[in-house]
């Protein structure tokens, strides 16, 4: 279970999160929606432990442990996974090398045996197949020259390989056409399980047609302004974010 209480966070001296409360029980998928600048991405970075995101008040506990006290790699080992809105391109690092380093680093930190090369390759091939990822793509440098869809599918591949307990998806739908959106959503849905919590951050309701959430929260000015069931997303699609601090035309 993820528990966020009264979270305040600053970026470049500007307060972005302003008393955010959120609880996600095990096995549930929660969506966070909200206008631009409401703090959606900031929340994802704070959860993953990015530097420059200064928490000034409040707490975040994950499975009873203080998440804010952990280094980014310790959070990954503890099961927190952030699917980036803009995955990084790293020339000179083959995607496969990166995947293997990540899997084995996390396994090592969790006290598990590192995967042998054949075992690792078998696992990657199987998971890549479900995401329509060509093995050739994984021989290329990490995300370099990947299309928007390839980058996002690569994020979901990493998510499935690292077997996290908390998946944070930051605007995973951005830059995806409808076919890519279907593949990515199917990949995410395949990971839904009673032990796994998910936080799906999106600006648009569209993604939630494919990844149907248990709860929807609207973020405004750095706090949860409203919570409801999946129907809340549909309502927002109709009315826009006007009442949450953004012009309807901008959405």
């Amino acid at each position: 279970m993820l528990k966020i209480k009264n979270l305040h966070a600053k970026v470049d001296g500007r307060e972005i999160l302003n008393g955010l409360d959120l609880t996600i029980p095990a096995g549930e998928v929660h969506a966070i929606m909200g206008p631009n600048g409401s703090g959606k991405s900031t929340l994802s970075y704070v959860l993953a432990g990015k530097e420059d995101y200064e928490v000034t008040d409040g707490s975040v506990t994950w499975k009873g442990e203080d998440l804010l006290d952990m280094q980014p790699d310790e959070r990954a080992a503890a099961g927190v996974f952030l699917a980036f809105q803009y995955p990084m391109e790293i020339p000179g690092v083959a995607t496969m090398t990166f995947l293997r380093s990540a899997v084995n680093a996390v396994r090592k930190a969790r006290g598990e045996e590192e995967l042998s090369t054949p075992d690792f390759l078998r696992t990657v091939k199987e998971k890549a197949k479900h995401l329509n990822i060509d093995i050739e793509m994984l021989r290329r440098p990490l995300n370099v020259g990947f299309s928007g869809g390839e980058k996002k599918r690569n994020e979901i591949l990493q998510m499935s390989l690292l077997e996290p307990g908390l998946c944070v998806l930051d605007e995973t739908d951005s830059g995806l056409d409808i076919d890519a959106l279907r593949v990515v959503s199917a990949g995410v849905n395949a990971l839904r399980s009673p032990e796994r919590s998910m936080l799906v951050i999106t600006h648009y309701q569209r993604l939630l047609n494919y990844i149907v959430p248990d709860r929807v929260h609207v973020l405004s000015n750095g706090r949860v302004a409203r919570s409801g069931g999946p129907e809340l997303a549909l309502e927002l699609e109709e009315s826009g974010y006007a009442e949450y601090g953004e012009e309807a035309s901008a959405a």
Binding site: D73, A76, P91, V93, F98, S101, A102, L162
Partner: protein, 448 residues
């Protein structure tokens, strides 16, 4: 000896002259070689050691840096076996499939060198020390060519004091299937100077890869001066590769000078991790149209190491191509220097020259000095250069850490990726992988 010209010289400058005086009688060579040596030492005596007011030595003041002149090492037998070579060069370079030639403690080691196999493969090859007693015409020609660059003090001193090395001639159209691996070692516990000279002559259409690696058997105070001349006739291809892993106290002064004929290719690639002071000079001169060179490499330096790479490419004829890419990783107080001069003479139309140097600074106190010099006298040319200097990208670091990589491992991966670009550009997987291992070794990480 003739009276020197220079009015004032430092103690070390005088010591170098004394070293020559003391050693002259024992240095190998016939009368013509002796005359060559005399002429070279006079050139040195007139010029003295280069210092920072000499533009080409602006960042590497040799007059200040050289504190003493250890005795000449030559004709010393040291114990060298596989374990010594492995310790000196690392396992990857020990394992490289190649014709080996070993020079240890300034002595050509016929017992450790595959001279017979090289001759069977069609290469004319011999120990330089022996060949100096009666040099063949092609070797004399290469000395004459080097003599034209005698204004370079490293070459002048080398010509005066060269004792050992290897001379190779690749006959027309010979393609050597395996690389030649020239292994330069020092001497355990020694304080000494080593002057080696190598000459490579590739006749038309010949091709070969020459790897020169420099490693330590545990010298305490080594001054290495090594010059390799390459004459690449038309349509020939020479790939010249270097690993510099000298003792961390050593001084490493080297020159590679290549003349490249029409439609020929000369590629030079150098990786430095050793020596307190290293100065690597690479001179390439195009003598025939349609020739090409790629000069690249990587420097990994820490502590107070100083590593200087200085390139001069002379486009004297039309339609030649030069590519330069150097990457430096500098930690602690290390200092990296890159100087790249590209000269395009008025006749050298359709020249295509590109140069790039990039430094990754791992500490606040590391320093990178870059000096591109483009002297272009022709009007129809494409020439470009760039230099960058930066730190590890924090966003990339966060991405890796968010995937579970501990900070040290994530940093190492990014550094490997940075220098790895040059290894991939080598276009030789075996040697590229060997360099990747050298980099991993330097970073203290294991490769998968």
């Amino acid at each position: 000896m003739n009276a020197p010209v220079q009015q004032f010289r430092t103690e070390v400058e005088q010591d170098l002259l004394d070293l020559f005086e003391l050693s002259a009688d024992a240095l190998p060579g016939d009368a013509a070689v002796t005359a060559l040596r005399q002429k070279a030492i006079r050139t040195y005596a007139a010029a003295g050691l280069p210092h920072r007011r000499v533009e080409a030595w602006k960042y590497t003041d040799l007059r200040v840096a050289l504190k003493n002149v250890p005795p000449l090492l030559a004709e010393v037998d040291v114990q060298v076996g596989e374990s010594e070579i492995g310790a000196a060069l690392g396992q990857a370079f020990l394992a490289l499939p190649a014709y080996r030639v070993v020079i240890a403690a300034g002595e050509f080691r016929g017992d450790l060198s595959d001279i017979g196999a090289l001759r069977d493969a069609g290469v004319e090859v011999g120990s330089l020390g022996q060949m100096l007693e009666s040099p063949p015409a092609w070797l004399t020609a290469s000395f004459d060519e080097a003599g034209r660059r005698d204004d370079d003090v490293i070459i002048a001193l080398n010509t005066a004091l060269m004792t050992a090395g290897v001379a190779l001639r690749l006959p027309e159209e010979l393609t050597l299937q395996k690389p030649i691996h020239l292994i330069h070692l020092d001497m355990p516990g020694a304080s000494g100077s080593i002057f080696t000279r190598n000459a490579v002559v590739a006749e038309p259409g010949a091709s070969a890869t020459l790897i020169e690696s420099f490693g330590t058997l545990g010298a305490t105070d080594l001054q290495r001066n090594s010059v390799t001349t390459v004459s690449a006739a038309e349509r020939s291809a020479i790939h010249h590769i270097k690993l510099q892993r000298e003792a961390l106290e050593a001084t490493h002064l080297t020159v590679w000078a290549a003349n490249v004929g029409a439609e020929a290719r000369y590629n030079a690639f150098q990786v430095n991790t050793g020596a307190a002071l290293a100065r690597n000079q690479i001179y390439v001169r195009f003598d025939g149209e349609g020739a090409a060179t790629d000069i690249s490499g990587a420097t990994l330096a820490q502590g107070s190491q100083h590593c200087d790479t200085t390139l001069v490419v002379e486009h004297n004829v039309p339609a030649c191509e030069s590519r330069e890419l150097f990457k430096l990783v500098l930690n602690d107080e290390a200092r990296g220097v890159f100087q790249g001069k590209i000269i395009v003479t008025p006749d050298a139309q359709k020249t295509d020259g590109k140069q790039m140097s990039q430094a990754l600074l791992l500490s606040e106190t590391a320093e990178f000095d870059s000096k591109p010099e483009l002297e272009i006298y022709a009007d129809d040319v494409v020439c470009g250069h760039g230099a960058t200097s930066g730190q590890i990208d924090e966003d990339l670091l966060f991405y890796l850490r968010a995937r579970g990589l501990p900070e040290a491992q994530a940093r190492a991966l990014l550094i490997q990726a940075f220098v790895g670009e040059t290894f991939e550009a080598l276009d030789d997987e075996v040697i590229g992988d060997a360099f990747a291992e050298v980099a991993a070794d330097w970073l203290g990480v294991k490769l998968d």
